[in-house]
């Protein structure tokens, strides 16, 4: 197993190099070069100041030297300083927001898992039934709904009309004065809509995927064998079929991470949640190149990590995979 993990890690190395190369080119291709963004809007920036800035960032060096520096800085998670007025290091800004976004995404993956798996199993077992048809139609609608629109509708319903749920931020204004239990409840109420919405699109795809996996597995000989030896249908479905159909699900759950991270831009700006997505959006609006590149690289890291965890998880769960 250890050897498998090491081999799998080695396979990600060329991808890491590729990511660094693309992000480096991105910085170089910024209109007017990376310096112009910092100096164009500053009338006090003289030619001499620009030269000094260039030397400071090493932009007077040949490209391959610059790339080498970028690579070594990337390895230390040093993405430079944000162009925003506070001028803080990009990594600090990312680090303090990472838990919020990861937390919401992990919660929504759990939700996807808990809802999509039973729906998929039940649709496959009762194929062609009313339940199956309704869930199939729901899946298609789910694929097609613009999630930010759904967010607006739910905000109108639960926030404006019914007043049941807060529609912005992670905590209420009076959060600090609440008891421990009150704090937890307050936070949970703020998370309901964002987590549900970020899970929604994934739910549709995943239940469909689980259904077709189940249909595939149910046709296998070992299911016929299990039925033939007189096991209860419930045991056949849950223990023999579902467990096998779940295996590829692990991979897909890992692969869905980049989509969720990308989607966080939309939810976090709608619900004013201080996470990576909102930070990225602010970076884009103020053309904060170091911040954008830093987040892009971190996003790619997380994607690679998701793939890696999925592969290793799969190998752990399925003894048929040869790991040596």
């Amino acid at each position: 197993m250890a050897r498998y993990v090491v081999r799998r890690l080695l396979l990600t190395l060329p991808l890491l190099v590729g990511i660094s190369l693309i992000s480096f080119l991105g910085i170089q291709l910024a209109p007017g070069g990376p310096i112009s963004v910092a100096t164009d809007l500053n009338p006090k920036a003289t030619a001499e100041y620009k030269e000094r800035l260039k030397a400071y960032y090493g932009l007077d060096q040949p490209l391959h030297v610059q790339y080498g520096r970028w690579l070594s800085r990337m390895a230390r998670l040093d993405f430079g300083q944000s162009f925003m007025p506070d001028g803080r290091p990009v990594w600090d800004k990312i680090r303090e927001r990472l838990p919020v976004t990861l937390g919401i995404n992990v919660l929504s993956e759990v939700l996807i898992f808990l809802v999509a798996v039973p729906i998929g199993i039940w649709s496959a077992v009762r194929r062609g039934s009313w339940f199956d048809r309704i869930s199939t139609v729901t899946v298609f609608v789910g694929f097609s709904v613009p999630s930010f629109w759904l967010a607006l509708l739910l905000m109108i319903l639960f926030g404006v009309h019914l007043g049941w749920l807060p529609i912005s931020g992670l905590v209420s204004l009076e959060h600090d004065s609440l008891t421990f239990l009150g704090k937890a409840l307050d936070r949970a109420r703020h998370l309901v809509l964002p987590v549900f919405l970020s899970a929604f699109t994934g739910l549709a795809g995943m239940s469909r995927y689980m259904r077709s996996n189940m249909l595939e597995v149910i046709r296998q000989d070992y299911i016929a064998t299990a039925r033939a030896k007189g096991l209860a249908e419930r045991t056949v479905v849950l223990r023999h079929a579902a467990r096998n159909a779940l295996l590829p699900f692990i991979t897909i759950l890992g692969l869905s991470l980049p989509g969720l991270i990308g989607g966080s831009v939309i939810f976090e700006s709608i619900f004013a949640i201080p996470g990576l997505g909102q930070l990225f959006y602010q970076g884009v609006m103020s053309r904060d190149i170091p911040l954008i590149m830093g987040e892009l690289v971190i996003g790619a890291f997380l994607t690679l990590l998701g793939n890696l965890l999925a592969d290793v998880g799969y190998a752990l769960a399925d003894p048929r995979i040869q790991t040596d």
Binding site: I19, R127, S144, I156, G262, I266, V284
Partner: protein, 284 residues
């Protein structure tokens, strides 16, 4: 040629027999007509500002109400359908062209070319695609053309993989060997013999791709980094809906419903095309 056209007719027959796919096609047709002849369906000038009619609820004069500048929402949505369709088709066209070329090239030449191109595909897939789109927009600035180009440039990887796999298997087939034996040039083999036989899954991908591109455009415009006002798009009308969420529900409800119905149409049609191309998939 006779065989080809009867195959095409058989395909259409199977497609239209699928009621959901036919409904999807009808929806697309409806919005295409709106997009092509917007002036036939608008009651008012979509850009006419009227400060006396700000945020009016739906009425006989303005069936879908007015927006924060007193403009007629129905007229703006009709014009918005043109934007959505344009972005959907052009972006998908760009992605398809790149994906086809990369896939054919990698699959046909194999070896190092293939390995290099496919590693590039892997790397591109590492970046969360919405992040990538936003990052490029931050560099080039928001406009309809940029939105089309950026969506196209960030969504070709799937079709490249698809076409590569098809090409790999097709190039080993007898009819390709026959064409080579007859002395056909590389371009002829690739574009006359391999490409047409690889088109079926690409067609399915493209139909679903238009749906995805329309969704992405609307999300970008909603965030204010896609189609810029005063040009109306379903996404940027929804931005006004969000800003006036407490007193103008019609600004939120209708444009989103239009996006939902259009995207659903493309998804149903895509699924139908898939089944018509490959009947084994029915009911899966």
């Amino acid at each position: 040629m006779a065989a080809a056209s009867s195959g095409y007719r058989e395909f259409l027959r199977r497609l239209l027999r699928n009621r959901l796919a036919a409904a999807g096609g009808a929806v697309i047709l409806f919005f295409l007509v709106l997009a092509l002849f917007p002036s036939a369906f608008t009651l008012h000038d979509p850009n006419r500002i009227d400060v006396l009619k700000v945020l009016q609820a739906p009425s006989r004069a303005h069936p879908l109400g007015t927006d924060e500048l007193g403009r007629d929402v129905l007229s703006r949505m009709v014009l918005g359908s043109r934007i959505s369709m344009e972005v959907g088709f052009v972006a998908t066209g760009i992605a398809m062209a790149i994906g086809l070329l990369v896939g054919l090239f990698a699959g046909f030449y194999g070896g190092r070319v293939d390995a290099l191109l496919m590693r590039f595909v892997d790397i591109m897939l590492c970046f969360p695609s919405f992040f990538l789109i936003l990052a490029v927009i931050a560099f080039v600035g928001p406009s309809i053309l940029n939105v089309m180009a950026v969506i196209g440039l960030t969504h070709w990887m799937g079709v490249a993989r698809l076409v590569r796999a098809e090409t790999l298997s097709l190039k080993e087939r007898d009819f390709v060997a026959g064409a080579i034996a007859q002395g056909a040039g590389t371009a002829r083999i690739v574009f006359r013999h391999i490409l047409p036989n690889a088109m079926a899954p690409v067609l399915v991908w493209a139909t679903l791709g238009v749906a995805g591109a329309i969704l992405t455009e609307s999300a970008l415009s909603f965030l204010g980094i896609g189609v810029q006002p005063p040009t109306p798009s379903w996404g940027n009308i929804l931005t006004a809906g969000k800003d006036n969420i407490e007193f103008a529900w019609w600004l939120s409800v209708y444009p989103g419903a239009a996006i939902l119905v259009t995207v659903l149409g493309f998804n149903l049609l895509g699924e139908g095309v898939q089944e018509a191309v490959d009947p084994r998939l029915r009911g899966r």
